[in-house]
């Protein structure tokens, strides 16, 4: 009974926090985006804006929601957004939502698969390394992993294209699928192999190393000794005992790593000419396409904030101690999460 009311209260609290974060985020981005020098009208009209009269310009601003003080613009934007109208993309000259819709799927598929693979592999690698801490194999994996992580993703992409598309001709160099094959799964997978490889190689070690270190901390805890004195094998201890205990941390890392992996799709999309919102967001920022930018930021924001809420619930299921404290996902993870 009491548990239930606590749960409801918690959910309400989370949702409120969620809304508040999105509000703050949108205000901040809205404001900062508009600080940039350069005329958004130029994105819309191109160089023709030069020859427009000031009345024409004013009229255009009103039409595009670019008139009045920023606060006024924001209020207009948010009240429209609340009704599902995210405004016109200045560059693409159609509703921002329409620009995003055909592309978001691509990014989610690419990012999602990369995300799953990165973490699946990272966990496997981390478990392996933790079990073989400080042996030659662990050291080699650490060194190779570090190097792979530091190879600039764009560079790696180009090298892969050169080898696998140009020289060997095994894999396509660009796009999401071949012409007319949008429903052909094998074809889609083929197109994803290279971008995925780049994304995995450039993220894998970051997370593998993080998880490995968490596991190393864990195998220094006393319960490991108890498990060992029970007669458990090394792998049983690491997988059944330690891994379970770092799982909440991993879930948290996963929750906050979404923007990181998304950043990865930016580069993969650029290198492999893979249509998606990654490349789109770069363009939208460069072209002062405010509405598009806001929409993209809102989408990633929603994904991150909601996934950290989900992460918290998952964690409570794994580890009931978490219920006692309101842990923010961000506090839990170590290392810098840049890029």
């Amino acid at each position: 009974m009491k548990d239930k009311s606590i749960l409801i209260e918690k959910i309400v609290k989370r949702i409120l926090w969620f809304l508040l974060s999105m509000l703050i985020l949108s205000i901040a981005v809205f404001y900062f985006a508009r600080l940039a020098p350069g005329d958004p009208l130029q994105s819309y009209y191109g160089d023709a804006v030069e020859s427009m009269t000031s009345t024409e310009l004013d009229a255009a601003r009103v039409r595009l929601g670019l008139d009045g003080p920023i606060a006024f613009q924001y209020v207009k934007w948010i009240s429209n957004a609340a009704q599902g109208d995210f405004g016109l993309s200045l560059k693409y000259k159609m509703p921002a939502l329409n620009v995003i819709t055909p592309l978001i799927g691509n990014t989610l598929i690419l990012g999602g698969v990369a995300y799953i693979l990165v973490f699946a592999l990272a966990i496997i690698l981390a478990l392996f390394c933790a079990m073989h801490e400080d042996t030659w194999i662990d050291r080699i994996i650490c060194k190779v992993g570090t190097a792979a992580y530091y190879i600039p993703a764009f560079w790696l992409g180009v090298v892969l294209v050169l080898i696998f598309s140009v020289n060997l001709g095994w894999l396509p160099s660009s796009g999401a699928y071949d012409i007319g094959k949008s429903n052909d799964l094998p074809n889609r997978i083929q197109h994803m192999i290279l971008p995925l490889t780049v994304m995995i190689l450039s993220h894998l070690w970051y997370y593998a190393y993080m998880i490995r270190n968490k596991l190393l901390d864990e195998i220094r805890k006393e319960y490991v000794l108890l498990a060992k004195s029970k007669g458990c094998t090394k792998s049983e201890i690491v997988i059944k005992h330690c891994f379970r205990n770092v799982a909440p941390t991993i879930v948290n890392i996963m929750a906050i790593s979404i923007p990181h992996v998304l950043s990865g799709t930016f580069i993969a999309e650029a290198v492999f000419n893979y249509p998606g919102i990654g490349a789109l967001s770069v363009t939208s920022a460069k072209y002062h396409d405010y509405n598009l930018l806001m929409l993209i930021v809102m989408i990633t924001g929603v994904m991150v904030v909601s996934s950290s809420i989900i992460a918290q619930f998952i964690n409570e299921a794994i580890d009931p101690r978490m219920k006692l404290t309101e842990v923010s996902a961000w506090k839990e993870t170590s290392q810098t999460n840049s890029l």
Partner: protein, 496 residues
Amino acid sequence: DKKSTDGSDLSNTLVYAGEADESINPIINKSELSNIIFSGLMKYDATGQPIVDLAESYTYDEGSMTYTFKLRNGVKWQDGEPFTAQDVVFTYDKLTKDTTLSASVLSNYTDITKVEAIDDKTVAITLSQFNAAMLNNFTIGIIPKHLLDGQDLTTASFNQNPVGTGRYKFVEWDKTGATITLEKNEAYYDKIPNIDRVVYKTVAVENTKALMLESGEADLAWLNANYAEKFRGKDGYTNIDFTTADYRAVSMDYRTDFWINNKDSVGVLNDAIDKDAVVKSVLNNEGCTAYSPIQLNAFGGNTAADIYSYDLNKFAQEMQTLGWVKGDDGIYERNGQKFHFTIQVRDYEEERIDIANVVSKQLKEAGVDMEIVLVTKFDWKSGYNGFLSGYAVEFDPDALYAQFTTDGSANTMKYSNPVVDNLLTQARHEKDVTARKDLYGQFEVAFSQQPASVLIAYLDGNYVSISGLKGLDTKRVLGHHAVGVMWNIEDWTLSK
């Protein structure tokens, strides 16, 4: 047959890799696709002369300054609706009356005072004064009234779903796959193309186009000279090198104080730039040095305008004459002002960055500090002193009017030279062709003496295709970014 409709049989589909486009609409922007989906009253022939297209014939009445177009019979929009004079009126009304529209072509049509449909198949267009380039301007594609009436042309969903009267009809814009599919217009009123379908793949990065050609994902693409070089002599590929009227220049922004004060010192920069070296290195010799903006136009090419040459001694002398003195850092100074100016260069155009780099270095050695700022889109408000420009005047030289006359609609550099204004206005309204050519020749000289920009080089249009693609005709001088390659697409054949 069924195979060709399921989309995966590409044996008679031309895959073209090109730059990304936001909308396909001849009024908003001229692109390869809008050229073949839409058709205008007139079109260009192989030599770049306007000939009739949707119009069966036309007459010009000098007294009333009225063009009367007789339209073809039986032309249908690609959605099946009949094409009528109302569509023409609608299009030209848009071009002349719609205030929400702001396209760079608009100033070509300011001379039009009245457009009316005399009957279903006849349109009369009245001008305020004679305009020698008007027939050129009538090549603009006609848009369907029944689909666009009452809509905002800039944002209409039509732009992503165009319906025209051209050789190819729009099938699908697959944004997820970044392809635009066209199918040949079986109901086309003229020669129906051989190639069933054209798939336009939009590509953001230049080298991707080359990669796609290499890996067989594209059949035809325009590459920069360096990438095109890779395919030369390679099995299975053909290099098709067009001449283009596309030149690169360092254009100055005369709004900025620096050039207001130093207008006299633009031309002299030509002497300090080894344009040959630029052509050889950056352009891989695919192009030529430039001295006039209409050097390769039928009306241009007055060698008398070629008054500069790479000569550092001469440069030094000229600079001295102009009153510039070298400072301690090796940079010229005058009236306490360094010869330092900034130019903006768009970051996605490799050859422009390279040109800017080399030119900047050469100028630096001569004592002029040209600073390069990379931008994604040109910004006219941040006070840069210039930009690395590219223009092409491939058809009527009247295009110069918008660019170089004071207050011209494309005069982004705010260049103002009364002599040029005068010559270009005269030429615009000159009916006699030789007299016109003479006027443009004079313009070239006048321009050279007080140039708006330091012209560097003309670029060749280096297309690369798979060997199975035949029929591309290099007779035509192409435009900016080598646009116009598909001018005779109906004659192309493809075998893969």
